[in-house]
Amino acid sequence: MENKAIKIIDLHKSFGTQNVLDGINLEIEKGKITVIIGKSGGGKTVLLKHLIGLMKPDKGEIWVDGVEITKLKEKELNDVRKGFGMLFQEAALFDSMDVYDNVAFPLREHTKLSEKEIEEIVEERLKQVGLLGFTEKMPSELSGGMRKRVGLARALVLDPDIILFDEPTSALDPIISLTIDDLIKETQTYLKKTYVVISHDILGMFRIADKVAMLYNGKIIEYGTPYEIKRSNNENIKEFLKATKIPGFSGGD
């Protein structure tokens, strides 16, 4: 258990008659980047939302650092959440605040630091994501990629142990996607935190992942290093990897 940050046991969730999660079992390693890939609309976001208690499962358990979180009350759940950071699909920055206040917000609400200390941390984080000169911009004035960077800075600002990424490169052009991928990899190498990324961008994810889990029909059908996934003989994985149209990218042994 020590080297496992999150342990998901037999997780079920359905909406109406649709079984979105149909018995997920997964152990996410501490201090690594785990990428969960799968089709769009295949339940990846639903899975991610379960990890942080935004959704409750119909059945199953989720253990975070030795605590089973699916049955926790809001107050106890909030204690667990303080150990999490999350980068949302559209970054979910607060429109009413500028970049600086967005990043400073978690510090102001959860710590007793002085404005001066907050400023130091915020600037440090913004420097890490390469946006130091943009503190006074409003979110609406930023491009999609910049918003994600601010979102990352905000997710990192409280020094959480686990950071969740909901489709970090969706809706971005390939070049900006590259820089976001690099940023994810860089910050993880530097901070050594547990990153959980969900994505359908296979190529980008293979570049940053330490471990890859493939979600298919509500189950994790394969879990391993990117190399192992690429060599997998599972037909569904092969089909998914072939969609990259890169010769030799998939193909078992």
Binding site: K49, L54, R81, K82, M86, F88, A92, F94, D95
Partner: protein, 257 residues
């Protein structure tokens, strides 16, 4: 066939009751979080500015013209039996007891209630509300409570403004334009209008402030379905708030009689 008829009759009623229950629950949560530390004074002040200060102009315009037209209409009626001196009383009683609080609330609903629903709705569909939850912060405390408290405090103040300018408008039309005796106009008004009349109006306004803000926040907070959903929530917020204000106005007035 038969069951579908029953469903047609009862499902809107059931939906209405469920909605009413949910709005009540949201109000309960508001009270729960509103009395718990830390108090978010800066958020409350910001909303007071938006709901109160920024509505002053529209409330003044509505109030003045309502007072003016009241003077015209009641003059027309009272002249028939020579009671022009009562125009001032009529204007003042109508404004303080009824039109001041109701018109102010309806105008603020159109201005601020719609904005509340649209803002919270956008925050919902762009996951900003989820972002707050993930940060271990309660979105009701940060988003709904300040708006409800600000509305509760500002609506009575705006109503005082509306009452005052309405009476001034009535005075201008009655005395300066129609030539009613100034002494009669003011004396009768002072004689027949009690503190109670003004006070009851302000209580109503505070109550309407709560209704307007809780309904609008409820509609925005539980928005579903992207930009279209935000539009729908905004419309529903204004319509539901206005209807609820008018219905509760009758109930409150009959209780205060």
């Amino acid at each position: 066939m038969f069951s579908s008829i029953i469903e047609k009759i009862f499902s809107p009623a059931a939906r209405f009751l469920r909605e009413l229950g949910n709005i009540g629950l949201l109000f309960g949560e508001c009270v729960y979080w509103g009395v718990r530390r830390p108090f978010k004074f800066n958020y409350i002040f910001k909303q007071m500015e938006f709901i109160g200060v920024n509505s002053v102009v529209v409330v003044i315009i509505t109030g003045v013209f309502t007072g003016m037209v009241l003077a015209l209409q009641s003059y027309y009626g009272f002249r028939k039996f020579g009671a022009e001196g009562l125009v001032g009383t009529t204007v003042a009683l109508s404004m303080t007891r009824e039109l001041g609080p109701v018109l102010t609330s309806l105008m603020v609903t159109g201005r601020a209630g719609s904005a509340m629903a649209a803002e919270l709705g956008t925050m919902r569909v762009t996951e900003q509300i989820d972002a707050l939850i993930v940060m271990a912060l309660n979105p009701i405390k940060y988003l709904v409570v300040p708006r409800v408290i600000a509305s509760f405090l500002m609506l009575p103040i705006l109503t005082i403004v509306s009452d005052f300018v309405g009476i001034v408008g009535g005075y201008l039309v009655g005395v300066k334009l129609l030539g009613i005796n100034e002494g009669a106009f003011i004396n009768k008004m002072v004689k027949y209008v009690d503190h109670e009349d003004i006070y009851n109006g302000l209580v109503k306004a505070a109550f309407f402030g709560i209704i307007m803000s809780v309904v609008s926040c409820y509609k925005g907070f539980y928005t579903e379905g992207g930009a279209e959903g935000v539009g729908k929530s905004t419309t529903e917020a204004v319509v539901t708030s206005c209807v609820t204000i008018l219905i509760s106005d009758y109930v409150l007035t009959s209780l205060m009689f």
